[in-house]
């Protein structure tokens, strides 16, 4: 370990590790501080990702792929189910192994990782962030760097200490709970989604297979719904009804910020990425691929700023992110708003209408078109992201 680093990254999830890999690959010194004792654990994630977006960053490896997905199933409140072929391939990962493999690629490029390093403050040089304070094995330490990248997940406290407003409106936070259940019957190449007021108000419930007879079964409900009844209670009710004989092998809580990306994702000396920057797809709640894209941009821009001795140039990060994915998230967010207040009858009607579409013509775009047929302005958004 060095006395000081060019770049310090807080958090070793996918966004932090990819930022570390991209920055280290350009030859700068990189330190990654992770508060937990293991990379990749606990797994607070549904673990689904598309093959296409994953391949931008990792060569698929059977060691961390639990299932290959080529179908979606949407369950309406009245029990009707619509199945459609996914036009591309999806994976359900073993994040526990995947995150570890990802961190390894960063360390192979020269990034240095330290576990159980709890960052609890920032160092400043005037107004500019110049390093971090952290607690490691009971000892309070300080270390300087030219830049800091905060990839500290849903909590996103590091950015706050630099004056950025990172807290998420509780109505835009999805309160989540997930179990990994075995001894259940399901199609191992299908991701299942369930909707409705009783099942998952202002959110959805997912069943993502992990090999044969096993799946991540999870739920996300909005803060407003969670105020009435906790996510864990919704999930337990679903399990009792649908999979009464399931064995529960893991159980985790979590929060997914389903909002737009923060307006400001950098300040002098610091950049935010991944969940910490609220770089999550607000419609699906998916954060693996968008976090890796955000991380790659942050790592690249940070390294260039350091190599060119122009630290102010990190201010372009928000614009680069917006062009790459942030703009698309704005469209997803409008679609989310469009479907969030659907009542159960509406979901049932969509399923009924969509079941009339011949199976070979069923696509995600067609499904959203069916759902939003009475909202012409949103049909343009559907076209933008699905066609």
């Amino acid at each position: 370990m060095l006395n000081k680093y060019d770049l310090i990254i807080v958090g070793a999830g996918p966004a932090g590790s990819i930022a570390a890999r991209y920055a280290a690959a350009k030859g700068i010194s990189v330190l990654v501080l992770e508060k937990d004792r293991d990379v990749g654990y606990p797994v607070r994630c549904g673990e689904a990702v598309s093959k296409r977006s994953l391949e931008l960053f990792m060569e698929p490896d059977s060691k961390w792929i639990a299932s290959e997905i080529n179908k979606f199933s949407f369950g309406a409140p009245n029990g009707s189910e619509v199945v459609l072929e996914f036009s591309e391939t999806g994976y359900v990962l073993e994040r526990r192994i995947f995150d570890y493999a990802l961190a390894k690629t960063a360390s192979e490029k020269g990034a240095h990782f330290v576990m159980r390093a709890y960052v609890n403050g920032l160092l400043f040089d005037g107004d500019k962030v110049s390093g971090v304070k952290y607690l490691h094995n009971g000892i309070q330490k300080e270390i300087n760097s030219k830049l800091v990248i905060a990839a500290d997940g849903v909590e996103s406290r590091v950015g706050r200490w630099a004056g950025l407003k990172t807290s998420v409106d509780f109505r835009e936070m999805e309160s989540c709970y997930q179990v990994t259940a075995s001894n259940i019957q399901l199609d191992p190449d299908t991701c299942y989604f369930y909707f409705g007021k009783e099942t998952a108000p202002e959110g959805y419930l997912w069943v993502f297979p992990k090999g044969k007879n096993t799946a991540n079964i999870g739920i996300g409900v909005s803060g407003l719904s969670s105020k009435q009844k906790a996510a864990k209670v919704y999930l337990e009710e679903f399990l009792a009804k649908k999979f009464p004989d399931a064995s529960i092998l893991t159980a985790v809580a979590g929060g997914v910020p389903c909002s737009l990306t923060l307006d400001k994702i950098s300040a002098p000396g610091i950049m935010l990425t991944g969940d910490a920057a609220r770089q999550v797809n607000p419609l699906s709640g998916g954060g693996i691929s968008s976090g890796m894209i955000g991380g790659s941009l942050a790592g690249d821009i940070a390294a260039d700023a350091i190599l060119n001795n122009n630290l102010d140039s990190i201010s372009k990060y928000a614009g680069v992110w917006h062009d790459r994915l942030g703009k698309k998230h704005e469209t997803y967010n409008r679609l989310k708003d469009g479907i969030y207040n659907f009542d159960d009858n509406k979901f049932n009607d969509i399923a009924k209408a969509f079941l009339k579409v011949p199976p070979e013509k069923r696509t995600l775009g067609k499904l959203f078109t069916t759902a939003l047929i009475n909202k012409p302005s949103l049909l343009i958004d559907v076209a933008k992201v699905f066609f």
Partner: protein, 62 residues
């Protein structure tokens, strides 16, 4: 004041993400509310997926 039921808490950070005052400190398996910063707004109570936070009226200091 807000009380954390530590036996229920999963240390997931959902409450920290919605806290407008940065009043919750979370380590790997340790959590505490910084009473001087907390305004008892209760957003953390509402968002918790596992009902690990509770608003305790008796403890509110005016």
């Amino acid at each position: 004041m807000i009380e954390i039921l530590k036996d229920k808490c999963d240390f997931c950070g959902c409450c920290v993400g919605v806290c407008p005052e940065d009043a919750i400190e979370l380590k790997e398996a340790e959590i505490k509310i910084i009473d001087e910063k907390c305004t008892n707004c209760s957003k953390c109570v509402w968002i918790c997926p596992v009902e690990a936070l509770k608003f305790n009226k008796a403890g509110v200091v005016k």
